[in-house]
Point group: C2
Chain length 224, copies 2
DNA sequence: ATGATAATCGAACACCTGTTCGGTGTCAAG
DNA sequence: CTTGACACCGAACAGGTGTTCGATTATCAT
C-alpha cells in the first residue's frame, strides 16, 4: 500500500536544499559540495545530504554529475550567473484591472517568467521587486507597445513627469500604458506616438499608478 | 629592464585555457578541474595549468576560489549558462546604409553587445549569427520601434510575407523597418501601426533585405 | 658562452568530496 | 510485539583535486 506523502510534493528540508543550491550558485558561480549543503541545512551527515539529493534527482528537480566534485545543478532553465528572473504576473488588458500580488507573495515556481541579463537592466532597478506583464489587445499601441509584448515594471505608487507608467483609471474601467505628466489642473497621459493626442485627467477623477515601465520586450517570431 | 611581451596581451595557450573554461562552463554548468583543463589544452602537468591560471588571475581574466574544487570562473560579465551574447554592429539610421560585417568577422570583444537569455529566444534562432542594431532617429516609429531601441536581427536575403525586416532602398537612400509583403506588381512595406499607410514598391525599384527582426528591446531608463 | 627568466614537467602530498555501509530511532501496519 | 519503511547519523574509504617543489629545457639579452 502506498504511503501518503505528508506534504504534497517536497518536504521542508528539500526546499531548503534547493534554495541553498540556487543561492550558492548565484553567489559563488559554482555549485556547492555535499558537505556545504549539509552545513547550511543543518544536516550533519553527508550521507543524508546524498539521500536528499538522490530524491531530488529522482523527482527531476536537480541533475547530478556523479563522481565529480560539485556536480549538482538545478534542472531546467536556472537563472544562472548574471540574470534576473522576473515573474510574469499576468496580462495587461484594457477593461480589466491588473492584479498585483500582495508584497512578497512569490510562488516557488511562477507560472511563467522572463530571464533578463543583468547587463541589460538599468543599474538602479537590479534586485528590485520587478514584475512583468504580457500585453493583450492593441489598447496600448499608442505607447509603442503591441499585442504580445512583455513589459517589465517596477512597482511604484507615484510617478515623476515623463515616466512611462501602467495606470488604472477606475471610473473609466481601463488600464493603460502612458507617459505621465502632472499639470496644473490634473494629469496628462501622453502617448508615446506623437500622432496620438494626450488624455487629460482631472484631479477629481481617480487615478491609480500600478508601476513604472523599465523595459519592453517584443519577440517577433509569431510571424514565421 | 622589462621584457617585451612576444604577442600583445595573452599567449596562444592562455586563450585556449580561457576558451576552454567558458566552453566547459556552458556545457557542464560547473567549472572544470585543473586536470580537465590540462587534458583539453595539451598541458601534461597540473602545475603548468596552475601556472597559467595564476597568470590569468593576475591579469584579471579569471577569479579563483583557492583550495576548493573547480573554483575557477571567468571575470566580469560572462555569458554564463544559458544566454546568448549578441554583438551590436551599429546603428540603423534612415538615410544611411547598414554596414553588415562580412560573414564571420566577429571581433573577440565587440565594442558593445547585448546578452539575451536563451529562454527568451525563439528556438529556431538560437546559435545563429544574430546581430543587433540600435535605432537612431524616429524614422522607424511606424514599426513600433523608437529611438534608442535595440533590434535583434537574423541575417537573411529573402523574406516571407509578414516578416518584419530591415530594408535598404538604395534609390530612396533609406533604411527602414517594415513588415514585408510580396504583391502582384511589387512589394508592400506595411508599418506595424495600422494608423500609417503602407509603402508600395514597384518591382523596378531596387530593394535589399538586410535582416529579419526577431526581437525588439526597449530600455526605458532615460526618462528617469 | 653564460646567466637570468620563462615555460614545462613529474611526482609527492594533503585535503576535498562523493560513496558506501552498518546503525539508531520513529511510526504505523500487521 | 514484530516488521518494515523512513529519516537520519557517523565513520571509513577511494578517488578527485589543488598545491608545492625540485628539476629540466628553451629563450634571450649580455
Amino acid at each position: 500500500m502506498m504511503m501518503v506523502r505528508k506534504s504534497k510534493g517536497l518536504g521542508e528540508r528539500h526546499k531548503r536544499v534547493l534554495d541553498f543550491i540556487e543561492d550558492y550558485q548565484r553567489k559563488h558561480k559554482h555549485p556547492p559540495s555535499i558537505r556545504e549543503i549539509g552545513e547550511s541545512c543543518d544536516i550533519s551527515s553527508t550521507s543524508v545530504v546524498n539521500y536528499y539529493l538522490n530524491q531530488l534527482e529522482k523527482s527531476g528537480h536537480i541533475e547530478r554529475d556523479r563522481k565529480i566534485s560539485r556536480g549538482v545543478r538545478l534542472t531546467g532553465s536556472t537563472p544562472l550567473g548574471d540574470m534576473l528572473r522576473i515573474p510574469i504576473y499576468g496580462r495587461i488588458v484594457a477593461g480589466e484591472p491588473i492584479l498585483i500580488p500582495s508584497s512578497d507573495f512569490r510562488a516557488f515556481t511562477p507560472d511563467e517568467s522572463v530571464d533578463i541579463a543583468m547587463s541589460l537592466m538599468p543599474a538602479k532597478e537590479k534586485g528590485k521587486d520587478l514584475f512583468a506583464l504580457e500585453v493583450q489587445g492593441e489598447s496600448m499601441i499608442d505607447a509603442l507597445v503591441n499585442e504580445g509584448d512583455i513589459v517589465i515594471l517596477k512597482p511604484v505608487q507615484d510617478a515623476r513627469n515623463g515616466e512611462m507608467v501602467a495606470i488604472w483609471l477606475s471610473d473609466r474601467n481601463e488600464t493603460t500604458l502612458k507617459y505621465f505628466y502632472k499639470e496644473k489642473d490634473g494629469y496628462r497621459l501622453q502617448p508615446a506616438n506623437p500622432n496620438f493626442k494626450p488624455i487629460l485627467i482631472r484631479k477629481t477623477e481617480p487615478l491609480e499608478i500600478k508601476g513604472k515601465v523599465v523595459m519592453v520586450i517584443r519577440k517577433v517570431d509569431r510571424y514565421m
